[in-house]
């Protein structure tokens, strides 16, 4: 039973960079929370503060109610898996795993039992005597994970652990880590800048930007109901159209749709899969620029009359040709003003994240 609480934590580096800005988060027991955000948004800094490698400038962190804000990493009940280059190359796999247990004065036979058990768990049974330099990148990250797990940490921290691996391996390890995490019911904080990684693994996603939280929600909610235009644009593919509302009608360069909000500038957000297109010869709102056939569906890139680019997913791509006039009929839209959502209609219950296929 381990609960992590982060309250109003900030980190300002000596050079004046504010990497994390009044960040708060509670991670429930056994939960896997993904910190998702573009590079430089403060994810690693936040994770390193939880691990004890950076000291917060202000704020409070507790694990199971115990204040750990200023506890050094060697005394924290956290286990960290780094991006790469963190294995001790002068030790073989077994010794890498046994090191922490030896420091804790665990008897030799128990060390052997626990190390072998964890190696089995990460799919490296019998690899104990291998030198870590002989392992592939994926195996090395498994060893790094096993090295943290063998100490049974209360909180597991992973900082883009698969970033240096190829796509295929990344997907497999992602599933394995998720399986292991659920089997051990270990409270986990996972850093990534890949939305597909976050969407497929997390119980909850924290979208970060400039050291601050943009949104904290379940993956499907983050995907379907992004609270800010930043989240809308960052997760999946989203058309963001800047326009003006007057008298309940949104308009942008010849395209108009009813939008029941007060007058003023608005960012209209439509997912490609929520945008129906019809080919027309007259009264077109846009023009097809390119059609891509993915086999299962097609993606149409079109231009509004002023050149604004919009993507639409279509079931029959062969119906559209470059240069052709089209009209747009959004099935679900959201509207943002001043960085907040002010209107949302027709949340569609799509299948799992179709917009990710070309992400």
């Amino acid at each position: 039973m381990s609960v992590l609480k982060i309250k109003d934590v900030s980190k300002i580096f000596p050079n004046g960079t504010t990497a994390v800005d009044s960040f708060s988060l509670d991670v429930a027991d056994g939960e896997l929370v993904c910190l998702l955000g573009p590079s430089g948004s403060g994810k690693s800094t936040l994770l390193r503060m939880v691990g004890g490698f950076e000291t917060p400038t202000s704020g409070l962190m507790t694990i199971d109610g115990e204040d750990i804000t200023r506890v050094p990493p060697e005394k924290r009940p956290t286990g960290m898996v780094f991006q790469s280059h963190a294995l001790w190359t002068h030790m073989n796999v077994f010794k890498n795993l046994a090191f922490g247990l030896k420091l804790r004065k665990v008897p030799a036979d128990e060390i052997k039992r626990r190390v072998e058990g964890v190696l089995e768990l990460v799919g490296l049974g019998g690899y104990g005597t291998r030198s870590v330099t002989q392992l592939s990148g994926g195996q090395q990250q498994r060893v790094a994970l096993a090295r943290s797990l063998v100490l049974e940490p209360k909180i597991l921290l992973l900082d883009e652990p698969f970033a240096s691996l190829d796509q295929h391996l990344r997907e497999r390890l992602r599933e394995e880590v998720r399986d292991i995490q659920q089997r051990l019911k270990i409270t986990t904080l996972f850093v990534t800048h890949g939305q597909d990684e976050a969407l497929s693994m997390a119980d909850r996603i924290v979208v970060m930007r400039d050291g601050k939280t943009e949104q904290i929600d379940r993956p499907d909610v983050v995907y379907r109901e992004p609270q800010t235009p930043f989240v809308a644009g960052f997760i999946g593919t989203m058309n963001l159209i800047e326009g003006v509302v007057s008298n309940g009608v949104f308009s942008k360069a010849g395209y108009a749709t009813p939008l029941p909000v007060s007058d003023g500038p608005v960012t209209l957000a439509v997912r490609p899969e929520s945008l129906d297109l019809s080919a027309v010869s007259q009264g077109s709102q846009g023009k097809v620029h390119r059609v891509t056939d993915y086999g299962t569906h097609g993606m149409v890139d079109l231009e509004l009359l002023d050149g604004t680019r919009v993507k639409a997913m279509v079931p029959h791509p062969d119906l559209f040709k470059p240069g052709q006039g089209v009209t747009l009929a959004p099935k679900a839209i959201a509207a943002y003003r001043d960085g907040r959502v002010i209107h949302r209609t027709g949340v569609v219950a799509t299948t799992a994240h179709p917009a990710l296929v070309d992400a």
């Binding site: 004890g52 956290t78 286990g79 780094f82 790469s84 001790w88 090191f99 790094a144 090295r147």
Partner: protein, 290 residues
């Protein structure tokens, strides 16, 4: 390359001697300036002139060296100085190198500058600076006297004189070699060790030292090679007797006018240096293999 047929027929014959020639120059130079003096020194000391004018193999000069109390005490003095210097260098330079590697404060840049500084000071200047500061009536003495404290026992002209000078002189190279070794220890490897519970000592002993053991060996071999045959610092700062091999050879040659004895001393010194050199070569080879 306009006439391929011509080049095709000419190059195999012509190029080979050029390549060999390029290699031959340094090889000949080494043979002439290094190998030959060694061989000639060994030959000169291994033969004696018999009364009837011929020559015979004899290790007389060596058996003299290794039975002469004074020669032996000079040799052991040299070994002692070398050993003490090597130990002190590690004790002094390892913390400096660790600090430079792991500190991210701005002071580190200045410390690095300071640590490298002795490299730019010729040993002769260093010697006189040493005398001025630590010698009898030197700065330290004057300062102590001015506040009513007794004279220090100056290390000048004691075995500790050369030790202090040689350690100072070798700090830059040792720090640089250790620092380059520490460059191979990744931050993440260190942080991972702290993460599993390693305190400062465990970190140093189990993670950092094993990773830089080769660099330590290289640094010590370098320092030891230089110190063993040092001349200027022991000559100026050291005691008259027993003395280190460097000044000993010079005095035997110049003042006692016994070239053969001096050469014998040189060959013995060379023998020790070669053992240290082999250490160095071995650790480099091990590094390459890894």
């Amino acid at each position: 390359m306009t006439a391929p047929d011509q080049i095709g027929s000419v190059t195999p014959v012509r190029r080979r001697p050029y390549g060999l020639l390029l290699v031959a120059t340094p090889v000949l130079l080494v043979a002439w300036l290094v190998i030959w003096p060694i061989i000639s020194a060994v030959i000169q000391t291994a033969f004696v002139t018999t009364p009837d004018g011929g020559s015979a193999v004899s290790l007389e000069t060596y058996s003299f060296f290794f039975s002469d109390g004074y020669s032996l005490s000079n040799l052991s003095m040299t070994l002692w100085t070398t050993g003490v210097c090597a130990a002190l260098l590690l004790v002094v330079c390892l913390p400096i190198a660790l600090y430079l590697r792991f500190s991210d404060s701005k002071v580190a840049a200045y410390v690095q500058g300071l640590a490298i500084f002795p490299m730019f000071v010729p040993s002769i200047i260093l010697s006189f600076a040493f005398i001025r500061v630590l010698g009898p009536n030197g700065t330290v003495d004057l300062l102590l006297n001015s506040v009513g404290l007794p004279h220090i026992r100056s290390p000048y002209l004691t075995p500790w004189g050369p030790v202090i000078g040689l350690v100072w002189d070798n700090i830059p190279l040792t720090v640089l070699i250790l620092l380059s070794g520490l460059g191979n220890v990744s931050n993440q490897a260190v942080e991972a060790a702290r993460d599993v519970g390693a305190g400062k000592l465990a970190l140093l002993w189990h993670i950092i030292l094993p990773r830089i053991s080769n660099s330590i060996l290289v640094a010590i071999s370098f320092a030891v090679l230089g110190i063993f045959s040092a001349f200027t610092l022991p000559y100026i700062l050291g005691p008259a007797a027993p003395e280190m091999m460097g000044p000993f050879m010079q005095r035997t040659f110049r003042e006692l006018l016994e070239p053969k004895t001096a050469i014998t001393q040189a060959v013995v010194t060379f023998g020790f240096c070669i053992v240290f050199g082999l250490f160095y070569v071995r650790s480099v080879a091990k590094n390459r293999a890894a």
